[in-house]
């Protein structure tokens, strides 16, 4: 449908067809040399016929993707308060250095003597990560947080097997990310959910009841997804270790404590670090992430391959362990090198002093939001919070306005919504993480908008909310219809 204008564009918001609908027949956006016309040597496989790809010139491609980009919200355009996602500024120096040919054009299987700079970079980043976390070592290859969880639990399972101790259960607090139970299932563990107490922390009594010699590990996010530090952490880790179990930490919220507390000092045995959160590698519309997992001494021998080891002044890539204890390989090559370069540039830019400031400013900004919004929205747990603050929908009761309505109205106000309906332990959750890279003025403007929306909700301004978003390039999209009759690819007859 063309909307309000004859051609479908609306000012700077351009209506853009699918690439396939731009097909200009024989056009191309590249000029490659003419092949010699040799006879193919395909060993009995037939050459393929038509593929169906569109033909488009470079200017059309540039315009197409530029127009698409303009339909995205981004950190570069505004505050992105997604709780537990740590949408902080992505420095452009990091983008520059990752493109240095010595990194960008290095091949994962070239002789190690010719890739010493790459190995040095990975080893240097590993040193920063183990120092910041107070852990013994780190497996660098996991491709994302969930991949790091997989690596951590595989190490735990291997260590328990080596002890001759076949345990069957993983404990997961009810406020945990969905990846935690999904990862436990991938390692064939049964998942037991541990409830939270009235303070938004792990219910210690329930935890104690659930803990026995069949428990392999607790997977704990700390600070947790209510934005709260688990005050009983030392008791929890002590109890786990006494019971012969491990403490796996989900490092999604490491940004709150980097440089202030080392997870190793809290009794953590394994923790993945989302480089795309705490260390600012770009989220890129959903990935790629990077999830190195730091490990304690007992788990380290079971870490996946490959590993990097110092050999005098040289670096060595170990692709096969001598004692056969490594649990295996997680992916084709050594790790998300492009993310490693960016993360190290970020860490070196901040230094030990700047990283500590990162945590402190992130925590201060979140507490400032908590203080400013606590009248307008209901905070189910008292502060101080860590790097994110949680509200529920109690103040919206009887207004006919839901958390989702607030979120869609935020879009009209120029903000990406906060994380909503997560964690599951409060009703209509709104989880706000401003990050340290927002100025006070930016946060004040955001809080003014949030207070205004709460006021409008209480005034009963249903129209404002139920028609939202009105100013986004699209109105609310029908997700039910999309799932009922999935159209997952373009075909000529869908237009």
């Amino acid at each position: 449908m063309s909307g309000m204008t004859s051609g479908g564009h609306r000012g700077l918001v351009m209506d853009e067809p699918l690439l396939f609908e731009l097909d200009g027949g024989g056009r191309s956006g590249v000029d490659l040399p003419e092949p010699e016309g040799r006879t193919p040597k395909l060993g009995g496989v037939r050459p393929r016929q038509a593929i169906g790809l569109p033909g488009v010139s470079e200017p059309e491609v540039i315009r197409h993707f530029t127009r698409l980009s303009q339909k995205n919200y981004a950190i570069d355009s505004g505050l992105y308060p997604l709780g537990s996602c740590t949408m902080k500024h992505n420095p452009r120096l990091n983008e520059k250095v990752v493109r240095l040919p010595g990194f960008a054009m290095a091949h994962p299987l070239q002789p190690q003597a010719t890739a010493q700079g790459c190995l040095e970079l990975i080893a240097t980043l590993a040193h920063w990560l183990t120092t910041l976390t107070g852990m013994q070592g780190v497996a660098m290859s996991p491709a994302a947080g969930a991949h790091g969880e997989f690596a951590g639990l595989m190490c735990i399972r291997a260590a328990l097997t080596a002890r001759g101790d076949a345990r069957r259960r993983i404990l997961v607090p009810e406020s945990a990310h969905g990846t935690n139970p999904a990862t436990a299932a991938l390692c064939d563990y049964r998942v037991n959910t541990v409830p939270c107490d009235a303070r938004g922390r792990v219910d210690l009594a329930a935890f104690e009841r659930a803990l026995d010699d069949d428990v392999a590990a607790l997977m704990l996010t700390n600070p947790n997804t209510c934005g709260l530090f688990e005050t009983d952490i030392m008791t929890i880790s002590g109890m786990l270790h006494s019971a012969g179990a491990f403490l796996y930490a989900d490092g999604a919220n490491f940004n709150a404590i980097v440089g202030r507390v080392r997870p190793g000092d809290l009794g953590v045995d394994a923790m993945h670090i989302n480089l795309h959160k705490t260390f600012s590698t770009p989220h890129g519309g959903g990935g790629p992430g990077s999830g190195p997992v730091v490990l304690c001494e007992e788990l380290l021998p079971f870490a996946p391959l490959p590993r990097i080891k110092a050999d005098g002044d040289d670096w060595q890539l170990i692709e096969r362990d001598s004692d056969g204890r490594a649990f295996g390989r997680l992916r084709a090559f050594h790790g998300q090198m492009g993310m490693f370069v960016r993360a190290l540039a970020y860490m070196m830019s901040h230094g030990a002093d700047g990283l500590r400031q990162v945590a402190e400013d992130a925590v201060l900004n979140a507490n400032y939001v908590l203080a400013r919004l606590s009248g307008a929205y209901n905070a189910p747990f008292p502060g101080p919070c860590m790097h994110e603050c949680l509200f529920d929908d109690r103040n919206l009761k009887d207004t006919g306005i839901s958390t989702l309505d607030i979120a869609k109205a935020m879009i009209d106000e120029g903000y990406h919504p906060m994380t909503m309906y997560f964690p599951l332990i409060v009703h209509g959750a709104m989880l706000i993480e401003p990050t340290e890279t927002e100025s006070r003025q930016s946060i004040d403007r955001f809080c003014d908008v949030m207070v205004h929306l709460a006021d409008e909700a209480r005034k009963g301004n249903q129209e404002l909310f139920h028609s939202a978003p009105r100013f986004a390039p699209w109105k609310r999209l029908d997700e039910t219809a999309a799932a009922r009759r999935p159209v997952l690819t373009w075909t000529p007859d869908t237009t």
């Binding site: 699918l18 040399p33 193919p40 496989v45 790809l53 540039i62 980009s69 995205n72 250095v97 240095l100 040919p101 960008a104 091949h107 994962p108 010719t114 890739a115 120092t131 910041l132 491709a143 994302a144 947080g145 969930a146 969905g178 139970p181 999904a182 991938l186 709260l228 080392r262 770009p282 989220h283 519309g285 959903g286 990935g287 790629p288 992430g289 391959l305 997680l330 992916r331 998300q336 090198m337 993310m339 070196m348 901040h350 030990a352 002093d353 500590r356 400031q357 900004n365 507490n367 908590l370 101080p384 890279t437 100025s439 699209w474 999209l477 029908d478 999935p486 997952l488 690819t489 373009w490």
Partner: protein
């Protein structure tokens, strides 16, 4: 600090609003005996000049595809990436956005993913594709788990032609899945796969081109799988080959996984890459990973959303089809832009240029005394057999500043049959000068 906007004045004023005396008050929930009282033992902050200088010094220590004759492949390939790709993926609206969970303000990413899925389905000859996985190897592992869910069977047969790193990744993923993996040996003399298929087989996993660079038509194998109620999983670790070869879908594959690095993405010492994952429509609800689907908004306007999320961990938790929570978004974008620039004719031409470069390279190398090849067919890489250990030759080539190929013994040092084999790749970037340099050096080393 250039990335931190708060000033000390801001901090003091904000603490007052919060009602805290100092930042330490806000960390009051953290047991005080574990606070880091001192800065950790790491360097202090640095400016752009210092950081760039330090990282450039590391980068300059490497030999790479830009400063050395280069013949490495084996799952990661040196290709030309058009300038427009990098310019577009650095647009902040793509680079610095999150997963498109709010479709009204994420249509750029969503429409791109829909285009990506369509292109992947077209390339592989399949009906549906997801929004990408971490890489080709993890996609292969997820394919085996998916085949087991679809067939409710617990045995996977893995060809000896599968990349050893893919094979190892598969065995890691299925370690605790109560799934038996039968892996045939990595050998030039191929074992018979069909005889391994029985009524308990969930899938057979093969690769094209295989680890030796050879090509196979899997149509008969697909029929054998289907007769036994098993699925055929085909891995492709050089996506450009799909511009020249009959796609796995046309051979009867049920799941196709592919490493997409070659389009739009740099070698980058192994990552991040982009795993392609495609299957038949009837299996879509067992697929891992994100999916973008078409719908309409409240005005009836066409748009896209993430869909069929009830397969995924954030909804289904321990019952999800996978624990994956990201995709290779930015790499998938680069892939899509590169393929958009190539188009139908550009991809076919690129594939032909690769195949011809490999033919030229092979002709020069097997003309050297003592060098032969077991390959009848190949795409852009092939195996050569040397008179002595390939690993030593590769090191000697590196000493001469040439990145000559991958010694297959790297994967199985104890397998004597692989000792003298080297996998050599050539692409549209391979020059006559590079081929001369490799052939000349090899001749010298072997004489």
């Amino acid at each position: 600090m250039r990335y931190l906007p708060l000033t000390d004045t801001d901090r003091a004023a904000m603490l007052e609003v919060v009602g805290a005396r100092s930042i330490d008050d806000l960390y009051g929930d953290v047991p005080q005996d574990v606070w880091c009282e001192e800065l950790l033992d790491l360097p202090l902050h640095q400016g752009e000049i210092e950081v760039e200088r330090a990282l450039s010094a590391m980068a300059e220590k490497n030999l790479h595809g830009g400063n050395a004759p280069f013949f490495l492949g084996c799952g990661a390939y040196r290709h030309h990436v058009p300038a427009a790709v990098d310019a577009l993926i650095q647009r902040g609206e793509f680079l610095t956005s999150y997963t498109p969970y709010q479709p009204e303000i994420s249509q750029g990413t969503l429409q791109m993913l829909f285009e990506f899925q369509t292109m992947v389905a077209m390339l592989t000859g399949m009906e549906v594709a997801n929004a990408s996985m971490y890489d080709g190897a993890s996609a292969a592992a997820e394919a085996v788990l998916m085949a087991s869910r679809v067939t409710r069977r617990r045995r996977a047969v893995v060809s000896g032609g599968l990349h050893p790193h893919y094979r190892d990744t598969v065995s890691t993923y299925v370690r605790h899945a109560d799934l038996e993996v039968v892996t045939l040996p990595m050998a030039v003399q191929e074992a018979d796969l069909e005889s391994q298929i029985d009524g308990s087989t969930a899938c057979v996993v093969v690769q094209i081109p295989d680890i030796f660079g050879r090509l196979h038509d899997f149509s008969a194998l697909a029929d054998a799988c289907h007769r036994a109620g098993a699925l055929l999983v085909v891995a492709v670790n050089e996506v450009v080959s799909l511009g020249l070869l009959t796609p796995p879908g046309d051979m009867g594959a049920d799941i196709v996984v592919c490493e997409g690095q070659s389009l739009g993405n740099s070698l980058g010492f192994g990552g991040p890459y982009v795993g392609l994952f495609a299957t038949r429509k009837r299996h879509v609800r067992q697929m891992p990973g994100r999916l973008a689907g078409e719908t309409v908004d409240a005005d009836g306007r066409r748009g896209w959303v993430l869909t069929l999320s009830t397969r995924e961990q954030h909804i289904r938790r321990e019952k999800a089809t996978s624990n994956i929570c990201t995709n290779s978004g930015l790499c998938a974008l680069a892939f899509t832009i590169h393929l958009a620039l190539l188009g139908e004719h550009g991809l076919a031409r690129l594939a032909a240029l690769n195949h011809e470069a490999a033919q030229r390279t092979m002709e020069r190398l097997i003309a050297i005394n003592g060098v032969s090849t077991p390959n009848d067919g190949f795409f852009n890489e092939f195996t050569i057999e040397l008179p002595g250990p390939a690993a030593e030759v590769v090191d000697q080539l590196a000493e001469r500043g040439i990145l000559g190929g991958v010694p297959l013994s790297r994967f199985e040092p104890a397998n004597g049959a692989l000792a003298n084999l080297m996998l050599v790749a050539a692409t549209e970037l391979t020059t006559t000068g590079e081929i001369d340099a490799l052939a000349g050096a090899l001749q010298e080393i072997l004489s």
